[in-house]
Amino acid sequence: MKSPATRLSLILLLTPFLLWIVLLVILPHLQMLRVSFQVRESWDTLSWGLEQYANFFSESYYWRTFVRTGVMSLFTTFLTLLIAFPIAWYIARLASGRARGLLFLACLIPFWASELVRTYGWMILLRESGLFSAWLQALGWSDGPVEMLYNDAAVIIGLVYNGLLFMVVPLVTTLDGMEENLVEAGYDLGGGHLTVLREVVVPWAMPGIVSGCIVVFMLTLGSYLTPTLMGGKDSAWFTQQIFTQFITRFNWEQGAALGALLLGLSSLIVWAGLKLTGQSLRKVMG
């Protein structure tokens, strides 16, 4: 039997969380959703309709940009996983004591600077008059300046760099808990490196892999600065279109509809990813 006081303390403890979720998450989203169904008939009259959503499907550049953003985000996530896994393996299984702390810190340090600073760092390295271009010329591997910025590869480099930490942390956490016996048993039973990796390590690390992938995917899909600054003229990214609708076109209705679509479609992709890997959100996040 709960006393009224315990119940009240529970309510009070929950209040900040509820205020946050209702005022800052649910209400603004409902408001956006409402705006997205408004159609501006002329400059001072509004009616309700699905025009903005229809625009997304009829104007090919909207959905083409969305598909492009989705595919590139998935690729970035996959690449981040490939790079982060060996790092996490080294930190969790091979390094010990001080080295381990230092390695973890090394992963963390870039995040003391803002995303803008990190992106500008890459721009200094990659631009035509930049460091890499100068080195290539100094080594005689190239005759003239080489432009490495303003293309999709540059965007992906920037995005992978930004997502790396969020992949390493959950991977280290899950790999840390794996017993050495399991790996040894795999080898004892005659498995090669690949078999042990596939049958023992990856299944064990699956919750970490999936949660890392979800975080990196959502971060990448929602990033704005990196694609804008590093992508150049072909860098159409879906968040840019939302930004342009709101800020440069004053078309809040279209922006809200695109925002709602981004939320819906990205949730769908995450859900599909969970289904494909046979994970549940509760297991992955718990």
Binding site: T6, S9, L13, Y61, R64, R127, E128, K233, Q245, F250
Partner: protein, 358 residues
């Protein structure tokens, strides 16, 4: 019993937290939303000293200014500086400004022709919404090595400058290219079908031109860096940026394109829910004094509507201005007329298609 004590402490803690939020400020302040360089530190300091009013400056651009004021219904700032062509349409749609009381503006220190032009283009239902402050043009910034090939916007698409070109994906680019292609976008402002057919031609041209472009610039500093390093040798940009580069490297110059530079006037406009109108008028009258206005010109590179400010402006800036504009180029400046509501939506779709094209 223990539980009760705990929640009392918790409640007390929450109340302390709430009280912390309610602290207020008392000093008089002017919240100004403006462009970079329009409120230099020394000017702000001098104003604060003379009037005792704190100035809070927020740097912005046209679209951002309108979006911010629209979101609050014209609150949050006491004085704004939108361009004169972006006031009437926005005012009619979103009602974010209040009319200017010209009896409180010292118009004697302003250039009469510019006051008249701004009043005309910001007039809505018998009220005027703008006082001219700073004006400038956009045209071409070119490196001497390509100055002979690039004399108009469409020359940016010439194969000889492939990969060394930059411009913005914004409405001035559409309009500039329209004029360079022999069309007249301004005359078609109020004829939606005609305007769309002009934009369709410009769109084709911009998509063809895309392979020539290194990147679409989005911020002034980014463009200056591209030009300074020589990665870009020809760009569509503002005059002030060109003069700034010219001071560093005489090989880079701002030129008015053959089809005419595009002229804009940034204004002072008072947000509808301005909380300190008196300070706003004080600021307008203060910064438009010739000596103060010259400081703004020296900081931003753009000339002001203040009468007689020219003689206080740095000599090299005056020289660069004269080198870019002879009398014919000045007469040829195309001044932006007020943008009718809804035009931006059409332009936006064109710009989106150019951005997404391959």
């Amino acid at each position: 019993m223990k539980a009760r004590q705990e929640w009392r402490q918790l409640a007390a803690g929450l109340m302390v937290g709430a009280l912390g939020f309610s602290g207020t400020t008392s000093a008089e302040e002017l919240r100004l939303i403006t462009w970079g360089g329009y409120a230099p530190d020394d000017v702000v300091a001098q104003f604060e000293e003379e009037t005792g009013i704190d100035v809070k400056v927020t740097l912005s651009n046209n679209e951002d200014m309108i979006s911010k004021l629209r979101a609050t219904g014209g609150a949050g700032f006491d004085l704004a500086q939108p361009s004169q062509d972006r006031i009437v349409g926005v005012q009619r749609q979103f009602n974010i400004y209040k009319p200017i009381d010209f009896s409180r503006v010292n118009t004697d220190q302003l250039q009469p022709s510019m006051v008249k032009a701004t009043r005309d283009s910001t007039e809505l239902e018998g009220e005027y919404y703008g006082v001219p402050s700073v004006w400038g043009t956009s045209g071409l910034i070119v490196h001497d090595s390509v100055a002979d090939q690039v004399t108009d916007y469409t020359d940016l698409c010439d194969p000889s400058v492939a990969g060394q070109v930059s411009y913005r994906l914004k409405r001035p680019t559409l309009i500039g290219f329209g004029f360079a292609m022999g069309l007249d976008p301004f005359a078609a402002y109020n004829d939606r079908d005609e305007y769309e057919s002009i934009l369709a031609k410009v769109e084709d041209q911009l998509i063809d031109c895309k392979s020539n472009v290194k990147t679409y610039w989005t911020g002034g500093d980014q463009l200056l860096a591209l030009l300074r390093t020589g990665e870009v040798t020809a760009a569509m940009a503002w005059d002030a940026g060109g003069w700034k580069l010219n001071a560093e490297n005489p090989d880079i110059r701002f030129v008015a394109p053959e089809s005419g530079a595009l002229g804009w006037i940034d204004t002072f406009a008072i947000p509808r829910r301005s909380e300190n109108e008196a300070a706003a008028y004080q600021w307008i009258n203060f910064v438009m004094q010739p000596e103060i206005a010259a400081k703004i010109t020296n900081a931003s590179g753009n000339f002001t509507a203040s009468k007689g400010a020219d003689e206080y402006v740095r000599a090299e800036l005056r020289g660069a201005y004269r080198a870019s504009f002879d009398q014919q180029a000045i007469d040829n400046i195309k001044w932006y007329p007020p943008v009718p509501p809804g035009l931006e939506t059409v332009e936006g779709q064109v710009l989106d298609r150019v951005q997404a094209a391959n």
